[in-house]
Symmetry: D2
Subunit: 173 residues, 4 copies
């Protein structure tokens, strides 16, 4: 009487700044496309900068279908989403949206990033999520490297140096 239940596709959150350098934006674009190509959905904070670059990249993947790009917004209505977001989730929670973003992800990729990205990494660590930090020589994702944030986990942040490596580490393959 209905389609049999199947495993939900993995969701990877890509976190990065609203005012990225060209290198960070390009990496976010590439990562977004690779994640879709490898069968994942993309979730971002839904606004501009690295979030928009990743979303735009996801739309370029041949495998992309409408619904693959999710934007988890700080505001209470969908109008602030960048135009490449397929599904807008307006949390109305302000900075609290980062928590929803991380909670819905199976893995998190941080690229560059300031205090916002740092808080997302710290939240993801507490939630025992797989975390990839893409080291392009700038921001917290570069500064932290392959370290543990505290003693609650025996693993570390996963350091990547290319977009391709970041996507592979996030998906564990």
């Amino acid at each position: 009487m209905s389609t049999p239940a199947r495993a939900r596709r993995p969701v990877v959150a890509v976190c990065g700044p609203r005012d990225p350098s060209p290198e960070v934006a390009a990496a976010a674009f590439t990562v977004g496309g690779l994640l879709i190509a490898r069968g994942a959905r993309l979730a971002t904070g839904g606004l501009g900068g690295a979030m928009e670059a990743a979303s735009r990249g996801a739309r370029t993947a041949a495998a992309w279908v409408d619904g693959d790009v999710i934007g988890v917004l700080p505001g209470a209505d969908a109008s602030s989403a960048n135009p490449f977001v397929d599904i807008a989730v307006p949390t109305g929670a302000g900075l609290g949206r980062n928590l929803v973003l991380v909670q819905m992800a199976d893995a998190v990729i941080a690229i560059g990033g300031g205090a916002g990205t740092l808080s997302e990494i710290a939240l993801a660590w507490q939630l025992h999520k797989r975390i990839v930090v893409l080291d392009l020589g700038e921001g917290w994702s570069s500064e932290l490297g392959a370290r543990a944030l505290d003693g609650r986990r025996t693993d570390t942040l996963l350091r990547a140096t290319t977009a391709s490596e970041a996507a592979a580490l996030a998906l564990g393959r």
Copy 2:
């Protein structure tokens, strides 16, 4: 270089109880399927009962594609979603998840329902969302009927008596 931005598909939230009567469950199932058939996505609270019935119904629509059924969960991880949810949004906000559910919807359909559904109707009213109450002779969606909840809006709740009418009113066509 990327797929041109398009309008996002409308999202309709279906709200109803975890312990529905057979009539409410059947209506939720039918509404879920009709919404997908008419081009909308479905969002629910992601758990069992009327939420699961609507999600299961959506999966039966010929037009369904993976990503059309969204579950906005009260808990902080995706594992509590019913098996017909394509995309789980674990808010970790408890009853606050109802606010995210309503905010992400272009329209809300309430079927039967107790205090949880009543709070969703009251939130949707404050957010100036289109609200359809399906009157099957039980719960708040039947008791409220085509009335205004207060003076802030000049319109009223939209009363439907069949699943088909509810879907049509929600989509404004």
Copy 3:
């Protein structure tokens, strides 16, 4: 080495509209004062109208001490609190602040009220809080009366017709 732990004083949430009638405002003012006089703290949504009237009333009680009036705000900073709030809790959650307000209360008193107050009553019901509806002939607190919202509880809303009765019912004495 420290003050022995004591029972926390009860907290009563007073819910009502931002644009109250003179009767509703006067009742909120009186209720606020009575709650403090009887040993409770007052919590409101922290803004104007009935929220401000209740807070102002609390400040008039001879028993008032700084800290007795709490304002749980929708915004992310304290500046929107009315001037009679002693402790501002800026939730940044928009309408989600109503959930925090109700969660922190041992009892809820609704006075008059539109859809916002209705959502607070519905949330408080789900959280199994003691709920007093002050019937002054207007708003949802008058319309609902001494009824149950659904079958999950065996008790009902507690109907009061005077401020004094509302305070007494809220405190169970």
Copy 4:
């Protein structure tokens, strides 16, 4: 007809781990007492460890009055608060309670700390709060020191090495 509105007393949030070293717990205890002695209220995450130590310390101050110690809890009911909390704010937001805690504070003092404290520092930075990191040779408050987290602010974290210095820096005097 009512007490004239006065400036609200400053609120200082003290952030630290649930499993503190004796040195961190002692510093939290001392900081809690000093903040009350100097006219501030104390807010913490309301649970055990450094949060409880700070709350207990606040209760020892001669200036303490009931209402000075606020616990902003992750859960939805007040029962998880440590016994030295005067006012419990059960957010029901899980890790999202850290955001409410920081938003309600005029200044934040971090002591020791793992990923939870790190996320609070990163949130407070984004919210342009005054942030004191007490360097006792352990945790993120020691590792970060007097640095900027990103380029959005021209100031830095304020490094203290004693509880007394931390309280003074938090209060700007």
